[in-house]
């Protein structure tokens, strides 16, 4: 990956892990400890969330209590907003792991006459820090002072003093700032924060909202220089670092059965590689979903945990359909070995699909994952974007040692290798399903287009869907009619 090469970490630079999914990877360890970091970006870009999650994870994962000084939202509003992300702020406050102080300045009730300073703010911050022994502090967003108070000269010199004071206290701080027209922040906060500046961005492209994070500077540390997509999901922020970070994954040599009679024989008699990606492409009605279900069924039969992403069918429908070809998936879901995650299609976009996938995997810890179909994902976003997101998801799964089977609906008229399939390069094994009309019947055919690292069979075979599941066999000599 591209990194800033200006010097390796000096030993003196200590880092404070944020605990936020992916952020510590792109910052090589976290935010500068004992120093302020500026998080800037437009309205709704996720600044407040990132800042609060920093405190939340700090308290829960690193036993570092935190103070949240809120200039825009009341404590009650923050508690309610974050409850929807599963962050129980009230409990943290009760356990003295978090303190929230809402600072509110109503300009209309304030008259200014003569000299003043912001010692009141310092006193409040100090008192909040001391009350819980805070190691982390968030000021969100201190720029509100500029709209509450009119003497900019005093404000600026007091801000300078505040940032020095934060450093002297040795707290790791996040200061948020609203995006300005010409500057990173409306009031040029970047002038006071020299150590680390992170920019968040929220763009809509092809009607699809995409969030990105970029580290603008990080003094004394190398850091990723790319724009990293990030998602806001049920458990907060997830930042997706570049794939190469994860490619250190092991190469597996163990095999896993396809679960389909006759198919393992085509893969050296042993089936797929574990922790590989298997792509099943084909037109509608060629048996792709049954293929995935059969894989899951055979995995559960051997006691493996399987997660099935059904992007087009409701779980009940899938269970019924598979029962009709002899698979009792319900017994696996009842035993807790199988989870069918049905995500509602496209309107929530690629971002949500991927975040759902990530969180389901983290929660369920499957050994086998089926994504049915990925066309829903690639169709939901601009294709480059979709490809890179899908790539990250697959890398994540492989890195976890999970075997992935994904189905892909070929557009009508385009088949197999003829299709410019961006996903083909992401898969280790590619099986194409098709239909051939023989006389008055349509027959399903199966061809292995590729399978990395093994000598697979080259023949096109018959794929039969029977009352007892799928079966692959050599094409019978047929009488011409």
């Amino acid at each position: 990956m591209a990194t800033s090469r200006r010097g390796a970490n000096p030993p003196s630079l200590s880092k404070c892990p944020s605990g936020i999914q992916g952020l510590d990877e792109v910052t090589f360890g976290g935010l500068p400890r004992g120093r302020p970091t500026l998080i800037c970006g437009g309205a709704g870009c996720g600044k407040t969330l990132l800042a609060m999650e920093f405190l939340y994870r700090g308290a829960i994962e690193f036993h570092e209590p935190g103070v949240f000084m809120a200039f825009e939202e009341k404590q009650k509003d923050l508690e309610e907003n974050f409850a929807s992300l599963g962050f129980n702020l009230a409990a943290l406050i009760k356990r003295k792991q978090l303190a929230i102080d809402h600072v509110y300045i109503e300009r209309t009730e304030i008259e200014e006459t003569g000299e003043y300073d912001l010692e009141g703010l310092f006193v409040r911050l100090a008192s909040a820090i001391d009350s819980i022994g805070a190691k982390r502090v968030v000021l969100d967003t201190i720029e509100a002072l500029f709209s509450g108070l009119s003497n900019e000269i005093i404000l600026r010199s007091e801000l300078r003093r505040l940032f020095r004071w934060l450093k002297d206290r040795g707290v790791t701080a996040i200061v948020t700032g609203e995006k300005g027209d010409h500057l990173l922040t409306k009031h040029g906060l970047e002038e006071y924060v020299a150590d680390c500046v992170i920019h968040l961005d929220h763009r809509v492209q092809d009607q699809l909202a995409i969030r990105r994070l970029k580290i603008i500077k990080y003094r004394g540390s190398r850091h990723g220089t790319n724009e990293y997509p990030f998602l806001i999901g049920e458990n907060g922020i997830s930042i997706y670092p570049l794939t190469s970070l994860l490619l250190a994954g092991r190469a597996y040599s163990r095999r896993i059965s396809s679960g389909i009679e006759g198919l393992d024989d085509m893969f050296e008699g042993k089936g797929y590689y574990e922790a590989s990606v298997i792509l099943i492409s084909g037109w509608a009605g060629t048996g792709k979903t049954s293929f995935g279900a059969q894989f899951v069924d055979s995995a559960c039969r051997r006691g493996l945990r399987a997660l099935y992403f059904a992007f087009e069918e409701a779980p009940g429908q899938l269970l019924r359909n598979m029962r009709s070809i002899g698979m009792d998936l319900k017994s696996w879901t009842d035993q807790g070995l199988l989870r069918i995650a049905a995500a509602r299609v496209t309107f929530c976009g690629l971002e949500m699909h991927l975040v759902t996938a990530h969180e389901e995997v983290r929660r369920f810890k499957p050994q086998v994952v089926v994504i049915d179909p990925i066309s829903t994902l690639t169709g939901a976003g601009q294709s480059d974007e979709a490809k890179s997101m899908l790539m990250r998801l697959l890398d994540f799964l492989k890195n976890e040692g999970i075997t992935v089977l994904m189905t892909d609906l070929s557009p009508l008229g385009v088949r197999g290798e003829g299709r410019d399939l961006c996903v083909s390069s992401l898969s280790d094994t590619w099986i194409d399903l098709s239909m051939e009309t023989r006389g008055h019947t349509r027959k399903r055919r199966l061809t292995i287009l590729k399978s990395r690292g093994m000598k697979h069979a080259q023949e096109t075979m018959d794929l039969l869907i029977t009352d007892a599941g799928l079966r692959v066999k050599a094409i019978a000599a047929e009488k011409e009619d």
Binding site: T113, E119, G120
Partner: protein, 96 residues
């Protein structure tokens, strides 16, 4: 003695020159315009830091008019008598 019509709280943080000046200015103004009708309480936030939250104190010194309602705040050393009088609603804007 009947309760004061004007209940004023002056927030300071230690005996800084600005705070001392603010108190002196306030005392003078009150004696001149509100004689017998006022009460001043001085809160030192260095001694009682938790009190800053309740009245939303950010700047020091801050004078808070608790009574009569509505709540009013004047920040600074109170060196401009007219602004203080306007801020406390003792005289209307532009009365002088």
């Amino acid at each position: 003695m009947r309760p004061a019509e004007f209940r004023l709280v002056l927030y300071v943080a230690g005996a800084t020159p600005k705070s001392i000046e603010a108190f002196a200015n306030l005392k003078k103004i009150c004696e001149e315009y509100l004689k017998g009708k006022y009460a001043i309480e001085v809160v030192d936030l260095l001694k009682n830091p938790t009190l800053a939250k309740g009245d939303q104190i950010v700047a020091i010194p801050t004078l808070v008019r608790k009574l009569p309602a509505p709540l009013k705040k004047i920040i600074g050393d109170l060196s401009n008598t007219e602004k203080v009088l306007v801020g406390l609603n003792i005289i209307g804007k532009g009365a002088r």
